[in-house]
Symmetry: C2
Subunit: 304 residues, 2 copies
């Protein structure tokens, strides 16, 4: 059994610590404000009075605090004892924050693994929990068995920003699903149709439409948006305009889908109305050094 420390005892930190205790690891905990450890101590955890003491107590330390500002404070406070330690930072943040933290930790002589938790606290340890990792491969390999107890552990690469990048990308996909659901449901609600009843039609339909995604992925990867086009962008722009007109006529807010129509129009105006809607990807994507500059780009790279 491993010695594992947990820094941060919010709902997620408590869930992580509980799961490690269930697997009979030796768990040491610390929280910035006291009084959060009682139930964990009752389950066998030991509490320390400082982050440095907690880190020093274990082979590996999991950090799960409010944000990277809080994570940075923890690391600074323990700077003098970090050399040779392994940190696994599961705090929510951006790829840039993960990379900056990895750099700081490396300067202090410690190993750094960043992670993104694709689960809510009650899901931790369950079959649907997924945790993405990137950064120190050695740390991942050394502790993969312990980490698997929290959820399926997926290592994405040495760049410490990759876990956060994938985490945020998956969440953005989820918010698209939710946006479609809210718009669709508000539209039928305008005639008094219940959401749960409509969902019996909408759910299978949305699941079926996910079958279109591999085709779009292929067009994105090849950059060829004009092949195998069934319903072209010009036709779909007309269809989406029709949807938003009807939405307004029904007295429902069109906000969530307006930007997609705007991207359809921009791409059609640039002469790509006969191609597939996957062409709007060229308006959204980053222009990388050495890549061709997409025509009709929505915004310059990095513009707010």
């Amino acid at each position: 059994m491993a010695n594992i420390s947990i820094l941060g005892l919010g709902a997620m930190g408590q869930a992580l610590a509980t799961r490690f205790l269930q697997r009979e690891h030796r768990v040491t905990v610390w929280n910035r404000t006291p009084g959060k450890a009682a139930s964990l101590i009752a389950q066998g955890a030991r509490e320390r009075n400082s982050a440095a003491e907690a880190i020093a107590a274990s082979d590996v330390t999991v950090i799960c605090v409010l944000d990277y500002g809080a994570a940075g404070s923890v690391i600074d406070a323990a700077a003098s004892i970090l050399s040779g330690r392994a940190l696994v930072n599961l705090t929510n943040g951006t790829p840039a924050q993960a990379r900056a933290t990895a750099k700081r930790v490396a300067e202090l002589g410690a190993e750094y693994l960043d992670g993104g938790i694709m689960a809510t606290p009650p899901m931790i340890g369950g079959e649907h929990a997924l945790i993405l990792y990137s950064g120190s491969r050695a740390t991942f390999d050394a502790h993969a068995d312990s980490l698997e107890a929290l959820g399926a552990a997926n290592y994405l690469g040495a760049d410490p920003g990759l876990a956060s990048l994938h985490d945020l990308a998956l969440l953005s996909g989820m918010y698209g699903v939710f946006a479609g659901f809210f718009h669709a449901t508000a539209l039928v609600d305008s005639e008094g149709i219940r959401s749960d009843s409509f969902l019996r039609l909408l759910g299978p339909w949305m699941a079926a439409m996910m079958g279109e995604l591999p085709g779009y992925a292929q067009k994105i990867d090849s950059g060829r948006h004009g092949v195998n086009v069934v319903s072209n962008l010009g036709m779909q722009a007309a269809s989406l305009e029709n949807i938003l007109t009807a939405t307004r006529e029904q007295g429902v807010a069109t906000d969530l889908l307006e930007p997609m129509l705007e991207l359809f129009r921009q791409r059609a105006s640039a002469g790509f109305g006969h191609e597939d809607i996957s062409g709007i990807f060229e308006l959204m994507r980053r222009t990388r050094p050495g890549s061709r500059v997409p025509s009709g780009r929505a915004k310059p790279a990095g513009a707010p």
Copy 2:
């Protein structure tokens, strides 16, 4: 076998006619501009020189033209012979257009069934094709067997606007799925990750997140967004803001998800940050006579 006429021989009209011919119905076709019927005639269809002649030749007529303007022209041209006929209009349009057309057809003494085709032309007659109907129940019942040949036939009610309403709502749900996919994929593309490779992670994740929809539907139907909240709107607003910040840092356009963050902020500002994100529904939905006025509404009902 039935006598069926098809008005409009675009890609969808041709697919409908072909499917009826495969089922050995007696098919009569007409198109505004000539020269579209050759392959259908070779399969046994008869062509007529006017919409009125085609309507007069069959028990039931399916209209599938460019838009409701074109459908209206067809109906006007055949006004004198419509009495006692049955029309099934599968033209794309809005609920308001469907209702206006139903009124006009009723004045001419004919039965009117409106429909929305949830399929592309190649899908017609296949197991995944779905066609929604509303309007004349008598027409639906009399011709359901024939119509089932095109795809699963789902009758939604006597209001002729319901099929179009559900059609547009389902499509809006689909566009939400696509928006989430495009945003998520552009985010990982910023680090050179291929779309097809990322989709192996994104696809199952989006499918899993659809499991949240029944819970949101329940909150919408009950109007109680504060029960069983796992991750509240305030936390999710911070999370979505983090996603959009990272998206900008990666040089990727944030357009598709900005309105959702704006709705989260509006709802949080109105004092509902501790409730679930389903609360944004109250900002989007139509305010119906007799219903309570939602607080913090995004737009007045019917505003463009």
